[in-house]
């Protein structure tokens, strides 16, 4: 696990942590790794076109809003996927919160990092299936104006509750907590670089940790 990423999430930026904190981060990363049971599902769907409702995908799914439209411009297919560290990580976090909040906070950041890294691996696997194609960075419900209410539909499409135990709550929160759903465009053409494509319209623009350091999340 990238402990640098965990430390950034804890507010350290690029500053050196003290030895005790670093040891705590390493120990927590190990605990999360042992508790996690990574599971994922994916499906590749044809992009059928756009209408006023949004981007229509094969199988009847419509992705509403301008940001996903922008995002999938030039893509003729889209991979829809979801990934979870599974319930034991939630149990670990619940217990830690009853014992020691500092450790709980670090565990939580480690788990967030771990699920992003899991998504990286899933994404890599999907990309490998489409040699010669280009991909924008992955896009999730809640980014831009892509509604979070989409979670349930994406999970149903992937049969995720049954296949990997990943569900959405009534208020569209993914459970188990350390889970992600995402859409990854697939283009036969080369795509413009990340900065031009998305930062200008990203809702995190003002407070993005990466941009503060002159980088992008896609780099």
């Amino acid at each position: 696990m990238d402990t640098g990423e965990v430390l950034r999430a804890l507010g350290y930026g690029d500053r050196e942590p003290d030895g005790a904190t670093l040891a705590l981060v390493r120990a927590c990363a190990g605990e999360v790794r042992r508790a996690a049971v990574p599971r994922w599902r994916s499906a590749v769907l044809a992009v059928l076109g756009e209408d006023e409702g949004g981007v229509r995908l094969e199988g009847g799914l419509t992705l509403p809003g301008w940001s996903i439209r922008d995002h999938l411009r030039g893509c003729d297919r889209a991979a829809v996927f979801c990934a979870t560290l599974s319930a034991p990580v939630d149990a670990l976090l619940r217990r830690a919160q009853a014992e020691d909040m500092a450790r709980a906070l670090v565990l939580d950041c480690c788990a967030s990092t771990a699920v992003e890294e899991l998504c990286d691996r899933v994404e890599e696997e999907i990309r490998a299936g489409f040699p010669g194609c280009s991909f924008p960075h992955r896009f999730s419900p809640g980014y831009g104006d892509l509604p979070i209410q989409l979670q349930g539909e994406l999970l149903a499409l992937l049969d995720a509750p049954r296949r990997i135990g990943l569900c959405a709550s009534e208020r569209h929160i993914l459970t188990p907590r350390k889970s992600v759903t995402a859409i990854l465009g697939i283009s036969r053409e080369a795509l413009p670089p990340v900065e031009e494509r998305s930062c200008q319209r990203c809702f995190l623009r003002g407070r993005c940790q990466y941009r503060l350091r002159g980088k992008t999340c896609g780099s």
């Binding site: 507010g11 049971v37 509750p161 135990g165 569900c167 709550s169 208020r171 188990p176």
Partner: protein
Amino acid sequence: MDLDTLLTREFVFLDGAMGTQLQRRGLPLGAVPELANLEHPDWLADIHRSYVEAGSDILYANTFGANREKLARSGRTVAEVVSAGVALARQAAADRALVALDVGPLGQLLEPNGTLRFEEAYDRFAEVMEAGAAAGADLVVIETMADLNEARAALLAAKERTSLPVLVSMSFEADRRTFLGCGVASMALTLSGLGADAIGINCSLGPLEMAPLVDELKRWTDLPLLLKPNAGLPDPAGGGYDIGPEQFAAALAGLGRAGVQLLGGCCGTGPEHIALLRRELEGARRARRAAAVPAAVCSGTRAVAIDRVRVIGERINPTGKKRFQQALREGDMDYILSQALAQTDAGADILDVNVGLPDVDEVRLLPETVRALQAVTDAPLQLDSTDPAALEGALRACCGKAIVNSVNGDPETLEAILPLVKKYGAAVVGLTLDQNGIPKTAEERLAIARRILDAALALGIPRRDVYIDCLTLTVSAEQAAAGETLRAVRMVKEELRLKTVLGVSNISFGLPARPLVNQNFLTMAMTCGLDLPILNPNVDAMMAAVRCFHLLTNVDAEARDFLAAYGGDAAPTPSAPAAGAAARPLGELVELGLRGEAGQAARALLAAGEDPMALVDGVLIPALDRVGAQFEAGQRFLPQLIQAAGAAQAAFEAVREALAARQDGPPVRRAPIVLATVKGDIHDIGKNIVKVLLENYGFAVLDLGRDVDPERVARAVRETGAPLVGLSALMTTTLKSMEETIALLRREGLPCRVMVGGAVLTADYAARIGADFYARDAKESVDIARRVMG
């Protein structure tokens, strides 16, 4: 024909997949399959008929997901979809097969993993069960469950709302656990206890992978077993499965011969699989189980067999503990949880849970405590109360197989409590006393134990689930009594063949060197056959006695546990305090975030006569202020701030104990700050960080938890007169709940200020929804609290 008649046969054949069969006929990806009952009845007629022709004895109606949540957007009611589904299966079955109402998971996770409450899940299932019974189903099948608590909700709904027999199967992964961590033993113990008619496994795995699971399942239940494997494992090369129908049938038939009576198929299987399976088992016989099911209890994720001495932790109990009583009165669940975790860390296998105080609403508090405990510990629970209503609430809330503590020989308690034990499938402690008190002799106590056993057996409670407590009397009051208790333990063990339980610590009351007396009495009792000592596991002498007993009786194979505890390199002992730490002043220990040392230093200062409040105002708060200032200046980071708070908390705990122990009782408590993560939101780490900081600045905090209804916040403010409320939300979708909560507080004219925080909030938005303060981070919430509370 009915299920009982079918179960007299050597094998009962179920059907195969529904979903894959519907997809083959044109059901689109992501569609609600149950709507086909109304939109494509011809598909269902066709599928059911093909299974009858293949030889299925039971047809699962197409009602797997026919619950109100999944049908919400279809414009159809549960009753419509269920009655159409049952009717279609019935038409195809005619007299050749039974029709099962098929009930799958609700598609949302129950608490504590999600936000769905157990009783809400029960209501949704109850609606389906009643619709199925009204439609004329012959039985209920609950399947593909991953959460044992959800399976419990469904099974209770089926048992309470219909008179139909119920089969239950859960889905296990290759690691032998469900997605939510439930193991085969926990499933078997819990569902057998709750009165399922057969239990088993379906989906996820193929028949080859299910073999080891079946071996395990057979050990833990005497119910008929059911299997519906997938057609195989998904073939990575394509969309199919790794084995063909012939291999499927051969493998599953093998499991049938090994003892599984009800057999069918799940995803990917079709009529061909069932027909082949039937042919494979023509004239075959299934093995009968020889070994008896062991005595055991469990939580949703951990089973504990009483096959050696198992320690029941006694510390969750207010009797004689002022600090614990204070926590109960103040609703301080964190304190109770810390007591639980300390005991399991020390080696307790089971936790006794007693929250009975004269001025506490036990009927509400016992179930609430059970839920809170089960969110953080996997230890099985012993529910300790004399109030049948509190016990029933707790048994309903408790996932797994609990122990009820207790009944005694008084017919009145037997009549009030044993039926609950039976209904919820618990084990029960029988105290060898009755309306006439505690008999003097072992023979008389044995007679009461026999009476309790007979009453339990008459209700259908298995012998293995009756544990007898022969009662420890204080040896300082009656020296001969210890020997009589030990003799009774031996007699119950030998003559009734029952497991025995004994509260140990009471023996030494009023004596010096209590740990010494307790330890020796424990060893003597174990030698007489004590299985379940109730004791304080935090006292190492007691755990040492248990470990030594296991070592010397050859139960601890290769001395593994013993060496892990005392073997030096094999297991690191708890780290010694950092060199020189004890010599440091308390304020510095807090700043460094050294929890254990800070607690010790505070205790030492208090013991030396330091005034508790002076310690808080003169040492702890200034130390926290220094850390807070460094945090704001970017010289310290959040983990360090929280560590410092944690160290201060340990010191505060010492202060609280000192205050609670005062002759004049604890000081009058100030009105608290009420904290909650709003309705619908379960991201509570930010709120919990705020809580730790506030508490360690000496504020009283009433934490309502996460996913909290606006009404509960208003009630808490009304009841406590809290001058400040802190609300947290992390999602844009739950900000709405925050706004509603504030609006309710205002509407009710409650004179409290409101501070809000959470990742998606801004100061502008906070003002817009009517909050008085926006807290950018946890430190700022302390500054706000100081301004408001002075």
